[in-house]
């Protein structure tokens, strides 16, 4: 379980989990869950376009992910309250990208086998050459979030204070969406568009329901994402069932555990008041 190619799997999946735990934390905090679903899914259509043109899949993923992020950011509303409009714009961006994907797939007509891998990932069988770019991207994403940690936190938690200090919520949204898009474009070929979403939302939501302190929640989100991935790889290796199944279920289980823990904490706190 820990030799040769499997070692690449463990390393890659751990890097992906760290990226997903970090970006997912902000996605949940900023209420951009839908974008976290739409960007990886839409990027998947870009991969179809790239394979049609005969270029590296990464380029198609990157163009579609970043294009989608910019589209969501550009048409979205500046005001926090107008969330329904942001949702509409996200939904439209998603279906436009997937509509183009349907066109690419129907023209190339030999894509169905790759489709499954891009949706659900091909985490076993990662070569040494694929590990390095992912590690590099992981560092870039971590640095990008680390550099903008304070503005991102401030615009998420206290938008009025952020506005008073001259920070644009909209620009922060756009910045974060582009970071998420870049992270997505490298991880989708490895873990799949659907898995990336599960890994971003489940651990972050669980962490947020346990603690309100941002630093602790961020660390916890990364830790839960790592636990989810390790646990899932081990089970997937034993049972031969797809990794995405275990990741999706583990995310939901952690979330429910987090909610239960919060419920317990609240009922214990109440008599003391």
């Amino acid at each position: 379980m820990f030799t040769g190619l499997m070692l690449n799997t463990w390393i890659t999946a751990s890097i992906v989990a760290v990226i997903a735990g970090m970006t997912g934390f902000f996605a949940v905090l900023r209420g951009q869950t839908f974008a976290a679903h739409a960007i990886p899914n839409g990027a998947f259509a870009g991969a179809a376009g790239a394979s049609l043109l005969g270029i590296n899949v990464i380029w198609g993923l990157a163009v579609f992910a970043v294009g989608g992020a910019l589209g969501i950011g550009a048409l979205g509303s500046e005001q926090r309250g107008r969330k329904s409009r942001n949702d509409v714009v996200t939904a439209l961006a998603l279906v436009v990208m997937l509509g183009l994907g349907a066109l690419f797939v129907s023209i190339s007509s030999q894509y169905a086998e790759e489709t499954y891998a891009l949706l659900f990932g091909e985490v076993f069988g990662i070569s040494q050459g694929e590990v390095l770019p992912i590690a590099g991207l992981g560092i870039v994403a971590a640095v990008a979030i680390g550099v903008a940690f304070r503005p991102l936190m401030l615009t998420s938690a206290l938008p009025e204070v952020a506005a008073a200090r001259g920070l644009s919520t909209r620009r922060a949204d756009l910045y974060f969406l582009v970071v998420m898009a870049l992270a997505t474009s490298m991880t989708v070929p490895v873990v799949g568009a659907l898995l990336m979403f599960s890994l971003m939302i489940g651990p972050a939501a669980a962490a947020r329901s346990v603690t309100a302190r941002p630093g602790v929640a961020l660390a916890l989100s990364v830790a839960i994402a790592l636990a989810t991935v390790w646990f899932s790889i081990a089970l997937s290796y034993r049972t031969n069932w797809p990794l995405g199944f275990f990741v999706g279920v583990a995310g939901a289980v952690f979330y429910l555990l987090g909610q239960a823990a919060r419920g317990l904490g609240a009922s214990r706190a109440r008599p003391a008041q």
């Binding site: 949702d87 939904a91 279906v95 499954y116 659900f120 069932w241 199944f245 979330y255």
Partner: protein, 297 residues
């Protein structure tokens, strides 16, 4: 005329089925979509389509009719989303995301087991993109019936739904069961969206749910007019999309037709962008209540 309507268009059986089903889906989605957009549940609407297809692949595995699979999955997911979702919108999005994540995981498993049994790889592709031209005639009555059920549910609840959507606190104070209304509404949404997703694919069902409704809400003055405008916009996009897709069999590069979902999505997007072009001229002086009739909070 000849250039738009190819000879033989209306004589073809699949095309007639497509036009009929497209109309049912477009009208149902158009009307329900208005509430979806007002309530800020675009994400839930899209998720239910994805979740329903998970149920479809599960039913295929167990060997029962797919119809039951996606109906059960869709309604169960709707109840879960509303059940564990906090009343705050952001919390609801996270709940939707968690349910969707688990369902997608299950889809991965079902599709894997399906391929073990049948060695077909096209399942995941059909789930996402579907095709309006290959609807089997047996599903048409079920589609029409579910469309009618969803429409009647929403029509009966229309006033209460608008009330709870626009000011949930006031509705609660008047003794409306906001959560029950929410669950019934999501169930109606699940029925219409999931059948649409199975017939024409999750992409198209989301496009028809959100696009026309968002466009209509940007231009129409009242909710009722918005519903009518939304249904008409959706209908126009769907029918024009089907006609264009039929025409495209003669187009380059490969002469086997461009997908309907591409045309419909493109038309829906054009409609939405046109509504942006129109808005500023009508409302030059920004009033403090701008947009209040469409989106709460």
């Amino acid at each position: 005329m000849h250039y738009l309507f190819e000879p033989g268009l209306f004589g073809s059986g699949p095309v007639r089925t497509a036009l009929l089903v497209g109309a049912v889906v477009a009208i149902t989605s158009g009307v329900i979509g208005v509430f979806t957009v007002i309530r800020g549940q675009s994400f839930a609407g899209h998720s239910l389509a994805d979740v329903a297809t998970t149920g479809g692949s599960g039913a295929f595995l167990v060997g029962i009719n797919q119809f039951w699979g996606f109906l059960i999955a869709g309604i169960a997911a709707a109840a879960l989303m509303e059940g564990i979702g906090v009343q705050r919108r952001r919390g609801r999005d996270v709940a939707t995301g968690v349910v969707l994540g688990a369902a997608l995981g299950a889809a991965a498993l079902f599709l894997y087991l399906d391929t073990q049994q049948t060695s077909t790889t096209g399942a995941s592709f059909t789930v996402l993109f579907g095709s309006i031209f290959v609807i089997s005639p047996e599903t048409v009555p079920a589609l029409i019936a579910s469309g009618i059920v969803a429409l009647i549910t929403v029509a009966v609840l229309a006033r209460v739904l608008l009330f709870t959507s626009l000011s949930p606190d006031l509705a609660r104070a008047r003794g409306v069961h906001v959560k029950v209304v929410g669950i019934i509404y999501l169930a109606a949404l699940a029925i219409s969206v999931s059948l649409a997703a199975v017939a024409i694919g999750a992409v198209l069902s989301t496009a028809l749910l959100i696009g026309p409704a968002a466009t209509a809400l940007r231009v129409a003055k009242s909710p009722v007019r918005a519903m009518a405008a939304s249904a008409l916009t959706g209908l126009a996009a769907t029918w024009l999309g089907i006609v264009l897709a039929y025409d495209s069999y003669d187009w380059p590069p490969y002469h086997h037709g461009w997908p309907v979902s591409f045309f419909v999505v493109a038309l829906v997007l054009v409609g939405y962008l046109l509504s942006y072009a129109r808005r500023p001229r009508r409302r030059a002086p920004r009033s403090p209540h701008e947009g209040a009739e469409c989106s709460p909070a």
